[in-house]
Amino acid sequence: MTDLLAARSLMAMSLGFHIIFAVVGMAMPLLMVLAEWRWLKSGQEVYLTIAKRWAKGTAIFFAVGAVTGTVLSFQLGLLWPNFMEWAGPIIGPAFSIEGFAFFTEAIFLGIYLYGWRKVSPRAHIAAGVIVALSGILSGVVVVMANGWMNTPRGFEMIEGLPSNIEPLAALFNPSGLLQAPHMILAAFAATGFAVAGIHAYLLLRQPGNPFHQAAFTIAFVVGSVSAILQPLSGDFLAKRVAEFQPLKLAVFEAQAETQQGAPFRIGGLWNTEHQRFDYVVEIPYALSLMLHLDPEAQVVGFKEFPQENWPPIGVTRTAFQLMVFIGFIMLSLALWGLWLTYKKQPHWQSRRFLQAMVFATPLGFIATEAGWVATEVGRQPWVIVGYLRTAEALTPMPGLTVPLMFFAGLYCFLTWIVIWLMWRHVSATPKQFEMVPAVHEGEPA
């Protein structure tokens, strides 16, 4: 394995691992706050139990997310020092904002987790709201920094060096502005569906358990609203990619040749030998219509660009398709739930629906990973599109397969533990409300 491939694999692994924890850590606080809010409004202790239960799960994900995020802030330099030297002054300010957002998130999460009996209920839920908001802010800023790598702005190249830097222009780059909402919605959809799926599974085993019914409803509402909005956000983003990164979009949509009235393609395997896609199902004119609102519009094919600038076609395309496909499954499930609500039928009365939700438990995370692979692999061979190639950013440090193996082992170990802990978490279902007695303001703990 070359050092470049080892470094890319290690970076991909660290990000791919971190992203799951970041997504859960971003979305769970909203779910906790909603449950606590329902408790304050209704006084039903089931909601308090849910909030406390979810808080513990969140704490594990948040902690692992925080430490793996620390790994990334070092690994950017350990693996790509030239990239950081180049990009630090331009996009680094985004990370200083993220640093403070992360600070408030960590401070108020501490208050939320340990402060049940130490602060007033109002202050407690406010702490939860601050955790949720600052989590979203960190996510937005980090994704906007990533967007800058796709559509670099806010500097001029003078004698081969980035000069006349404008950090705000860099931060508010075209891609980042639309990548950020897509990522945030992905976080809420994936987490909402995963939590709803777990409670759906437990409802199938213990029908009528009010704990799981209430938990399912909150998670499903958050997940389904996001899953319904997500295709819209994806559509806006695709139009943006078509405008600023036509090569990447062409790879996403399997558009090899430039074409008027391009069809939307489903499926297809990239045939390297013949430089075409096999086994494609086409919906005529749909791609032109979607991207340019005109069935006859021209869509640029990736063969217009020099082959040395192509990203890996097969991986990028497959990941993109997988993301879209799962997005539509989740949309359908959200609409199914909406239909049940419309018919005034509680969700948990339909076993079919619950079974479908159990099946969907991991889907959001798979889609998130796939979408991230599509955007990151689709950016190759560049680390900063048009300016710096990934290979040029690599550290001179040899033997990078060693840390790769080491971190691979570490991440496998952590994954296994977290799954096992979550299993313990789930299997220890509270029998109605006997888990923790509610504590009201003014009462001694």
């Binding site: 513990k56 620390t70 790994v71 630090g88 680094g92 640093g99 049940w116």
Partner: protein, 348 residues
Amino acid sequence: MGLETTLALILLTALTFYALLGGADFGAGVWHLLAHGPTRRAQHQLIGEAIGPIWEANHVWLILIVTVLFTGFPAAYAQLSISLHIPLTFLVIGIVIRGAAFAFRHYDVKDDEVHVRWDQLFSVSSLISPFLLGVILGAMTSGQLYLHDDSFWHAYVYPWLQPFSLVMGLFILVLFAYLAATYLLVETNDPQLQEIFRKRAIGAALLTGLLAEAVLILGEAGAPHLWGDLMTSPWGGLMLFGVGGLTMAAVWLLVIRKFWWARTCAILQIILSIWAWGIAQFPYLVPPHMTVFNTSAPEVTLRFILIAMGVGAVLLFPSLYYLFRIFKGSFLLSHKRNYGHEDRSKIM
């Protein structure tokens, strides 16, 4: 004062906070490992409760330092990342294992045998990171980064595998443990635990003094720039006397059981040590070539990040104060307070 200098002072301030807060969390891990005897469980519980609500926030200081470094002084960050690749990698591995083990132990729904394993993992990994942090600071101080060298040993191992850096690592490890012992003293009102941590704090304080001496002795050859500044200038002498005086005062206060004041001496000692190091190091980030001036980002970036720091600080410090007031009331407030039994309600 120029923008570069201001940003360097912010870095030094953040490093001070990281040492006083995050450092103490690492130090608590050391005592976790060394806990034995009939009160072992009680010691573990005290440590877990002391760091539980605040360790996440304390850890963010390190992230802030890294982001300010790569934004404000990108060339230095890049060079350090290359030359110190190996210790930095182990540093983050230690951080990951420690944080994850703490979370697995304390946020699990059940309470059973397996928690002993997490405790072990937590305390062992608490040794790695502060030691390596010291090694890295030592390497930055000694400035033996070979910028263009073909041999793996010279480029990637030699810069940090030096007697000076290694002793620095030990020094930081013991210093953090000393700090943590004085914090724990203030946070418990169990006389048995106080007696245990009092003895440990005294031992650690004396060991800190010895290691500080060793750092200075090795520094003459290992970090001539720092050594020269500290040993030959009047302010350097003053700082050294200050640090030594505070150590002795802390030991005496521990002997006569004035824990709050001993803790305060430990804090002052760390602040003084870090600032003595920072001032002696200035304007170098890594002597003899990299200064805050020749590795800094363009002015517009520095200006932006300073404004961001200003706005951030306005939000950060009240929030931090709120956090500490809730969980560390006895820690912040008056020394005259009799540490009445706090409601040590565990998480949930």
